[in-house]
């Protein structure tokens, strides 16, 4: 049973880091395009 829980947790961990990375990537791209237009790209 412990082995099954470990397998699920590891898979969920990888997916979670993917979600986290996607959010960051989207924010970078959105922020970049907005601040580029305004000329104030400091965060």
């Amino acid at each position: 049973m412990t082995e099954i829980i470990i397998a699920i947790l590891l898979g969920v961990f990888v997916v979670a880091t993917g979600v986290f990375s996607l959010i960051r990537f989207n924010r970078d791209m959105a922020h970049g395009s907005k601040c580029e237009k305004k000329g104030e790209c400091d965060r």
Partner: protein, 528 residues
Amino acid sequence: MNVYLIGMLISMVAYVVIGFFISRTVKNANDFYVAGRKAPTLLIVGSLVASYCSTGLFMGDVGEAVRGTYTPVMITIAMLVTGYVLGSIFFGKYLRRSEVLTIPEFFGKRFQSRKMKVLASLTSLVIYLVYMLSIMQGIGTLMSYVTGLNYNVCIALALVCFTVLTITSGSKGVLITDTIMFGVFTVAAFIGAIVIVVKAGGWNEAVSALTAHNPALFSWHGTAVASGYSSSDNMVWAVMTGITWIAVCMVGPWQSSRYLMAKNEHTVVRSSCIVAFCVFIIEFLMMTVGAFVIKLNPAIVNEPSNAMIWAAMNVMPLILGVVMLTGVLAAGISSATTFLSLIGSAFANDLIEVKDEKKKVRIGRIAIAIAAAVILLLAVINPPNIYIIMCLSGTVVVCAWFPVCIASIWSKRVTRTGAFCGMLFGFIGCAVMKILSTAGILSLPIYLDAFFVGIVLNILGLVIGSALTKVSPEEKEEREKLMKTPDSEFDKKEIKKTRKYIYGYMISGVAILLVLLLLWALPYAKTI
């Protein structure tokens, strides 16, 4: 002449010849040190995986599985692969944006400090030397075991091959040959694994038989419990090592330096998504199939590191065995070329600041030749106390670099003094703790690895050093430049494509879950 030796010699000559042809396209320092900054996703993937996979994977990690720490190491692997994607998003693409030749140069530019550049270069050089020695050990052991040749002759042959390759073609050649070698050892690993699984009676049958023979082998705690560790100790070790290696894959210089060669920032993110899955699958396959070798040869537990080598020589058809062993050798050589090229750039670009392009390439080549000679000498003499230095693994350089790398991008307050203190304290703290524990002078609890001591000291240095000094206008300007995304990165098609790769990475997380569940946890639970 031994057929395995013939195969290995042919492959080494082939790499040198390829390197020679690539050398004709090396025109300037950019070509030599960062492959002209034009590398597509495939080459970055090839080089990243090849730098990660050395003889340490095919002999060391497989040995751990055979020895009985299968699950703890597997947990570490599944955790560390996430470091690639996190690293590309939070550090790699900014590193690429800085358009420097080396990571120490990035620190020097970001903090407008030559001291930072030199410190980063020196800390990385120590680790490159240690890694090169351990790769030489792996290659020497593999070649002498397989061919029967003298150990010193084996390491000299391999060293001549990868030194000539690196000197002639630089990073451009390293990228291309790394990718070829990545292809060779991946194909060899997959076909070899199929043969071993068939000979072991099928996947589920092998898991069941081995579990019946030794119930602890695939269990969550492993057989290491028999050596005096508790089950929870093993879990704590696995998670701690996993966290440590996430940091290694995020900012480790032999990994993140590949991003400097990428053609754009999208390539950085895309390659990291592919690498994460490739590394997991190769590791999972080799470790599990390596454990299956016990079913074919129970005596292999007495020499666990040689499990795959034994299988290649005794289980696989001759030609496939030659390809498999050539693949393992390729894994070792590809890592060695990466480290050797990094040593060259550390000298010519960071320690000696050469302005002239041609001179910079020439000094890099001389530095590579000298470093190779020193490494050969150390590997042959093998001084009795060298084990003290050998304990300084990649975690030491990450202790010195990790918080500084992240702060250099994401903190407005970090100053050059803070960064310098953080890097110095992190390196010394981790190195001293490692040396003391290896020498048996200090015994650390399992949850207090030297890595965490180094990281805490690094953060303390960063915070205190930055609190006592002010960010200069030049440092502020450099950070602002890093935060400004180049116009070329805002191509909507490219953004959409990169987003698809990140979705792909998330799907690979589900695939990892299914692989672990269907090929390990469920067959094991069914038998137990």
